[in-house]
Amino acid sequence: MIAAVRARLASWWRVATLPVLAIVLALAIAAVIIVASSAFTGTGFFPLLPIYAYGNLFAGAFGSDIALNNTLVAAAPLMLGGLAIGLGFKAGLFNIGVAGQFLAGAFAAAVVGSSLATAPVPVAVAVSLVAGGLAGAALGAIPGFLKARTGAHEVVTTIMLNNATALLLAWAVTDLARAPGFTFPRTGDIGTSALPVLLGRNLHLGVPLAFAAVFLIRWLLDRTTLGFEIRAVGANPNAARYAGISPLLIVTLTMSLSGLLGGLAGAVQMLGVIGFYASGISASVGFDSIAVALLGRSDPIGILFAALLFGAFRAGAPLMQITTQVPIEIIDIIQALIILFLAAELIVRRVFRVRARPLEIEGATTVTRTWAEGSVRT
């Protein structure tokens, strides 16, 4: 029994080693940047600044009930977005379109939510969430189908769709769905469609939903025939076809599911935090999700922890900036460094003298493979 637990822990650590080391390395280098930049700011050159900054970052993320709630609330959309990307990776697909799917989901949730603003809470919330998910799924299905049918690379089509979506929604909110009575173009109040707050000031229903999604996707991938099909298509599309699986169907379906999760991320953020859709709302969740999926190695549990980490960065950064004058933007630098080190894992192995373990890095290999390969033969 104890041996089994130990083996399980060892195997987790094997998978987690590199991400953890990448985080450590990123924090170390960001510390150097903080010290260097301190020389040019009001604080003056101050070698211990990173310790204070990181201390406050930690306090802002985990130091109180409020901080903890903020972390969880910030992590929820990242979890859903990370799952969207990670699920795609499992099928050998790189869905860069989560940003667009996030916006579509947020917009659909806002529009449907405001039209149900006086409906009973369960109905309003459920219908708005579903609307957001479906909008994302529809947006994901397009590049999925194009990839399966014509071999059009999903990276290219999703990037183009991101732009198309953002512009289309900017027009929609200024014209089609603009609510009367506001000085700028936005959708109406969501009223009872807002996700109920469960704890404290802001911990909304979206947080447990995101956690549930993690375990649902994990179950889907590991335990169901559909998950088997998705993994088979991702690992060896030829063998999948041979086995009677239709890569065309699975690629389209996986991109739709991925889009659904991306749309849900947008809906959760809209109904739980933002409250109304206006032109120019941030779709940064879409891109941070890529980082989350890479850091989590496409594994749902890994994505859970990666999202919590990135959520903590977001939640803790304001306190860090207020108390130590280290700008919030340092978080972007840390995130970028983490991704850099994950991509250039050779550097991390060198620095920490970790031996290479081939075939362990599923997410990363999948990405390179998708880039290298063209269409799925149908």
Binding site: T224, F228, R231, A232, N238, A239, R241, Y242, A243
Partner: protein, 519 residues
Amino acid sequence: MSEGERAVPGAARSSLPPPALEMRGITKRFPGTLANDHIDLEVRPGEIHALLGENGAGKTTLMNILYGLISPDEGEIRIDGEPVAIRDPADAIARGIGMVHQHFMLVPVLTVAENVVLGAEIMHGPVLLDQAGAAKRIRSLAEQLGFTIDPNARVEQLSVGQQQRIEILKALYRRARILVLDEPTAVLTPQETEEIFAVLRRLRDEGASIVFISHKLDEVLRIADRITVIRRGRVVGERVPAATTEQELADLMVGRSVSLRVDRGVAHPGEVVLEVRGLHVRDDRRHEVVRGVDLDVRHGEIVGVAGVAGNGQEELVEAIVGLRRPSAGRIMLRGRDRTTASPREVRAAGVGYVPADRQRYGLVLSFTVGDNCVLTEYRKAPYARGVVRDERAIRRRAEELIAEYDVRTPGPGVRASTLSGGNQQKLVVAREFGDDELLILDQPTRGIDVGSTEFIHKQAIAQRDAGTAVLLVSADLDEVLELSDRVVVIHRGRVVGEFDAASAERERIGLLMARGVAA
């Protein structure tokens, strides 16, 4: 070195120069296995020395140690009597060791000359390559070996046999005197094999030492001067071809008495299961490679398709199993039209299929052995109930298949990529053999050892005797002749001859395979 000085097996040892290569007590442990267990190997100058053993016996490990790709735990390597330390391939090359791998290490878009000099370029000043000089040396090297090659041809345009000769040129260009060839004939046609043998004999006669790794008994007997047999990491015997037989070598290699001939009774063909009429199929480049094939396979018979690889066999099979849509013609399974059926529909109609390329089609290498055991049946009970997979049932099934088909693996939970080639093939065979109406075997024993081949052949006969219709496609004519009740010869996408196994003449079929006509 002149012919008179050449090491003659059995000649008095005192008159011999020191061995060109001596490996003493080489031991290499991998987690869980002893890959090499105090192996001694001695190769004389001007000798072709065969290293014979089953897949996983430790042949490749030994040669990788020689080439500096892995380091031994124990043992010593001597070259020309001098102890040497070989830490990496650069050391090995400097010592005159050349390696021709089973999978060619060539860059397809570069020319022959560019491939040969890659990494050992002759420079013309600091930046320019001396291409004319390289081409000249390659031509003269090839001439010495008795063949001609255009140094400016692009490698991708060459046949597999020609590519292999380039690999040999590469080694000789680096002045190799000890040449290691890892399963060099696995990918060659019989004619190409003869050609490569001629090259090797010529090299030997000029004093080179050649280590020829193989598990093909007849080839080893034809080409080798001496044969070292290894089994499970140990040397189990050394023989000279004149004083041994295929049977003895096979028994040594496998460690028990094996039957090289397939015992089979008469076939009792029943009704037609597979009926192919006027089938035309295009390949990936849209060339028509199957051009009007008619074919019948009945219950309880094995129909062998003989043909040189690349004459449309692969596409024919892919069309039958639904992986490729025919451009014209009809495919009927038990009287029902299945011309445009999907792979899943074909499987549901009772067709088992062992594909030619087990790593590309037959297995998902990153999946576990267990998952691969149910790769084609993962949706069916008891492996799935509704959409939920039943891990326990899958595991039980895997354990059954592993035991029944003697797949050597630590268990169902390890990745399929960790299995040796022969065991991967056994895994595919285990999964596909069962109560099928039609069983399609495409190159079922390519690249696998005697023991596994014997096993797979026996299983194929057993399937036939149980009433299954079996379609066998193989580039190995011996295999086709041995297993089939009827032989169909395919050439350039057409059936050019059909024989009863009893009346089939090897020569005639060989000519039909090569030229499409028997005269």
